[in-house]
């Protein structure tokens, strides 16, 4: 049962970047002992429609680490409660609960890692695969013609994506941002990268 001498975990917080969410807390120290932890979550559905029930995360029960990957369970854009308690043998601490709700809409989105390639007269972009929740909005333009910027939405980043053909010898610039449709938010843009098409401009 609950034990007075085993304190509840403190400093419970969420680290959430690019739709990967982690719950962390400071360790409970008991000299010469290995304290373990168990984590539970409660979505808005459980709070409002299911008697405020809590659901254990099996991968984070009797855990010795002080971090738990909750990404798989935070799979709706609603407010979640999270709690963790310490366990030592049969003793269990009180639950330590995250202050305030966590909604994945607050995840921090970083610009995508991008590599722009000119292959002959073809403008190509290679984007880091960030998981199925991510799409990419790629903007590209001929240098000096920023007002004729074009856009391509890339849904799968697993390869070298063809953007467009380029005029011989032309300089073309590209920047990209991620878009997460589940939370309807985008990252800031990546650094702009420019490349030059093959050939000299006299060809045109």
């Amino acid at each position: 049962g609950e034990d007075a001498f085993l304190p509840a975990p403190q400093n419970i917080s969420i680290l959430s970047t690019n739709m990967k969410h982690f719950l962390t807390w400071t360790p409970v120290i008991v000299q010469g002992e290995t304290v373990r932890y168990s984590v539970e979550f409660q979505g808005e559905y459980e709070r409002v429609y299911a008697n405020e029930s809590w659901i254990p995360i099996s991968e984070c029960s009797l855990l010795t680490a002080t971090v738990c990957d909750i990404t798989g369970d935070i799979s709706a854009t609603v407010a979640y409660n999270l709690r963790v308690r310490a366990e030592l043998g049969a003793s269990r601490s009180q639950w330590g609960t995250l202050k305030g709700f966590f909604n994945r809409i607050t995840t921090s989105l970083t610009p995508p890692v991008m590599k722009v390639v000119a292959d002959g007269y073809h403008l190509l972009v290679e984007l880091e695969d960030m998981g199925p929740a991510f799409q990419f909005r790629v903007l590209y333009w001929k240098k000096g013609q920023e007002r004729r910027m074009q856009q391509k939405v890339v849904k799968e980043a697993s390869s070298v994506v063809h953007l467009d053909t380029m005029e011989a010898g032309g300089d073309y610039c590209v920047k990209a941002q991620t878009y997460v449709e589940a939370i309807n938010r985008s990252s800031s843009f990546s650094q702009t990268q420019c490349v030059r098409a093959q050939g000299d401009t006299s060809l045109w």
Partner: protein
């Protein structure tokens, strides 16, 4: 007096195997038996009261039965069941899991045709057709079944070994400004996002751009 009743082991791994909504029931023979065992098959539409026998699959010794015709309405879901018998011995009826033709079918890659000029290649893609009872029957493209269907196209420059990817909704793609006299290999995949279904990539179709005039 009680009727003498000997039971036969059950058929195993009873399941639908479906490609482009050609829905074929497959199973494995009861353990330790071979093709001396005979089978009969029945099916039912989920939510409808009765099991329906499949006459063409009665007293058969093969371990499959084509139920495409009976399961062609992809707005319904189905169960099928198989019973084995041999020398007066019977197995139980063994059922499939619930079969949803729309989400449980596998889609073939698209047909790819390629032509070239000296500096460009033109790619035409054709989505496979839904299974149909007979050649005379009207063809239904899977494009009509899955309106959100898209194509992922891969173009490989055989000289530089560089591969480019395109994602397109319509069925034609022209890649201009290529190197003359160079071989390019094209393959394509079908992607449906709802429900999530991806075909394999088609085999590669290679073509060379014409030599510079």
């Amino acid at each position: 007096s009680g009727e003498l009743y000997c039971s036969l082991l059950n058929p195993r791994n009873v399941r639908f195997e479906s490609v482009n909504m050609k829905n074929v029931l497959h199973w494995s023979a009861p353990e330790g038996t071979g093709n001396e065992v005979l089978y009969k098959v029945k099916y039912s539409v989920y939510g409808v009261g009765k099991w329906i026998r499949k006459p063409e699959c009665k007293n058969i010794n093969r371990t499959w039965c084509d139920l495409s015709s009976e399961t062609s309405d992809y707005e319904e879901q189905y169960y099928a069941s198989v019973k084995a018998f041999l020398n007066g011995m019977f197995s139980d009826w063994v059922e499939t899991t619930r079969f949803n033709p729309l989400t449980d079918t596998k889609i073939d890659p698209p047909m790819v045709s390629v032509s070239s000029t000296d500096k460009s290649i033109s790619i035409t893609l054709t989505a496979p057709e839904k299974w149909k009872r007979s050649p005379e029957e009207e063809s239904i493209s899977l494009l009509q079944v899955y309106p959100g269907l898209q194509y992922n196209v891969s173009v490989l420059n055989k000289k530089t070994k560089k591969r480019w990817f395109f994602s397109i909704s319509n069925h034609t793609l022209v890649v201009p400004w290529l190197e003359p006299g160079t071989a390019y290999c094209v393959s394509a995949q079908i992607h449906v996002s709802a429900p999530l279904l991806d075909s394999d990539f088609s085999k590669e179709h290679c073509i060379a751009t014409l030599k510079d005039k």
